[in-house]
């Protein structure tokens, strides 16, 4: 009886850890439930899956997943500095910069990504002769994500508190040095959980680049589906493919969070 308790109920003492076996068992339990629901649903509609038809396209899936990965990493690397600059601009004494950053955040967050992609690519991109949809896609996604990251980091800076800025000034740091050595390192740590969530969203948002024919994962999965008529099989590959990127990303964020934890 007692051992069954351990499998299904968390320990009363929050300091006590949940056994690894119980974690695995509960995740498997949920996954099994989901699988059963879908299997029954497929059965009910009398859909039979034909995996053989998509086997020849494994290289297409793999290279497209690679592209999505490159887009994601590129966007991550580009949007983080945009977010930091955006957050700092919002605190600038130079008002055009401050209100520029605020307007940027509101315009980007208030409009659909798909509209931004089309507008930036076909209007702005064409105007500056940026025809490479892949690179344009990374830039557009970075601008989009940068707005959200700006807000996340701005919130992180707010939690650091005025006394830290005061101490930084008292030891003779310039404003730039204070942000560089004291405020931002703490703000980024505070922001890490939200940043991780944003990056996971960003990986999935990259699927919208299919509208400008970037050969990313969603686009190629659809292509494969059109050729083979094995739509559900391709969508299944698509689901698993995104999880291959997003689950390790979440795990990495949790690991970083644990490593960077400190008492205040």
């Amino acid at each position: 009886m007692d051992s069954i308790r351990h499998w299904f109920l968390a320990p009363r003492d929050p300091a006590e850890s949940i056994p690894f076996s119980a974690k695995v068992a509960n995740v498997l339990l949920v996954l099994t439930g989901v699988a059963i629901v879908f299997i029954l649903a497929f059965r009910a509609q009398e859909i039979s899956l034909n995996w053989a038809a998509i086997q020849d396209y494994w290289w297409l899936f793999a290279s497209a997943l690679g592209n999505t990965l490159i887009i994601s990493v590129g966007t991550l690397l580009l949007s983080l500095p945009i977010g930091v600059l955006g957050a700092l601009s919002q605190r600038s004494y130079f008002l055009p910069l401050r209100y520029g950053a605020k307007t940027y955040v509101e315009l980007i967050r208030g409009t659909p990504l798909i509209a931004q992609i089309l507008l930036f690519y076909y209007v702005l991109g064409s105007a500056v002769r940026l025809d490479n949809a892949f690179i344009a896609g990374i830039i557009i996604l970075s601008i989009f994500n940068g707005a959200y990251i700006t807000e996340i980091i701005r919130g992180g800076i707010d939690t650091v508190g005025q006394t830290q800025m005061e101490s930084a000034r008292a030891i003779g740091l310039t404003t730039f040095q204070a942000y560089r050595y004291v405020i931002l390192p703490q703000a980024l740590r505070h922001s890490l959980p939200s940043l991780a969530g944003q990056f996971v969203s960003m990986v999935k948002d990259s699927s919208l680049l299919s509208t400008i024919a970037v050969a990313e994962f969603t686009f190629q999965c659809r292509q494969a589906a059109n050729i083979t008529y094995s739509t559900f099989e391709c969508f299944f590959v698509m689901t698993v493919g995104y999880l291959i990127i997003t689950l390790p990303l979440s795990a990495l964020a949790r690991w970083l969070e644990r490593r960077m934890v400190y008492e205040t």
Partner: protein
């Protein structure tokens, strides 16, 4: 130190915190600012530390001079000024994301341009002096309140400041930790380093300060040797204050 203040005013909104302060300190090592809460003594200390501007900012009518050299209140001048003085607050001085050792190293490297190895050596020497070498790798959250304040003071004096400002350095501590921090302050004074502190520790102020400045309602009511100020208060407010704080 030789400190001269004339016509110093400070107003926050409609609230005047310092009213036309003038003060002459001749040849003192340790000056204690005392007085009731909200008297303006911390504000006075913060202006002296270059962290706050007097009314009028750059065009202020106030004049403050150290050893005959006047302070200027432009952003750039104050930045230079703060590099050469040290300030320790009541709490939260240290940066929680880096270790005690890194906290001491940071200003040495970034502000004073020391090489990493020189900064490390200086920081280790400071910690050794406090008997805290074993805690060098700990983050502030893992230190006791008293240890944190001592590391903060060590960080301030590692850069060899002209003056050290302490704003109620023991107010957030329990008695045992208070004693350990006050012991360190006394040691610093004996090393012939100038310091100005705001404190509520009357016995400490009496035994360590060369000069006591009594601040109340934004004005300096009395200044003098500790015995003079405490044993023969010149003003009713001072008399009542000492009667209250020294009662128990």
């Amino acid at each position: 130190m030789r400190l001269s203040i004339k016509n110093l005013n400070k107003t926050y909104g409609i609230h005047q915190v310092l009213r036309d302060i003038s003060l002459e300190i001749e040849d003192a090592r340790c000056v204690a600012l005392i007085g009731p809460s909200g008297s303006g003594k911390s504000t006075l200390l913060r202006i002296l530390a270059g962290l706050e501007l007097p009314d009028g900012a750059e065009r202020t009518s106030a004049s403050i001079s150290w050893d005959g050299i006047p302070m200027t209140f432009s952003e750039e001048a104050l930045f230079q000024y703060r590099r050469n003085v040290g300030t320790v607050f009541q709490s939260c001085n240290l940066f929680p994301h880096i270790t005690a050792l890194q906290n001491i190293e940071l200003p040495l490297k970034v502000v004073h341009g020391q090489s990493p190895s020189a900064a490390r050596k200086e920081a280790m020497d400071q910690l050794a002096r406090l008997g805290l070498e074993a805690h060098a790798g700990k983050r502030p959250g893992q230190l006791s309140g008293g240890q944190r304040q001592r590391v903060a003071i060590a960080r301030a004096i590692a850069v060899r400041p002209r003056v050290l400002f302490l704003d109620e350095p023991t107010s957030a501590l329990d008695p045992e930790m208070k004693a350990e921090v006050l012991g360190m302050v006394e040691e610093i004074k004996n090393e012939r380093r100038d310091l100005i502190l705001v404190t509520h520790e009357m016995h400490f102020a009496r035994s360590v300060a060369d000069q006591i400045v009594f601040v109340a309602e934004g004005q300096i009511l009395q200044k003098g040797l500790p015995q003079e100020v405490m044993d023969s208060p010149a003003h009713d407010i001072c008399r009542n204050f000492f009667a209250r704080v020294l009662k128990y």
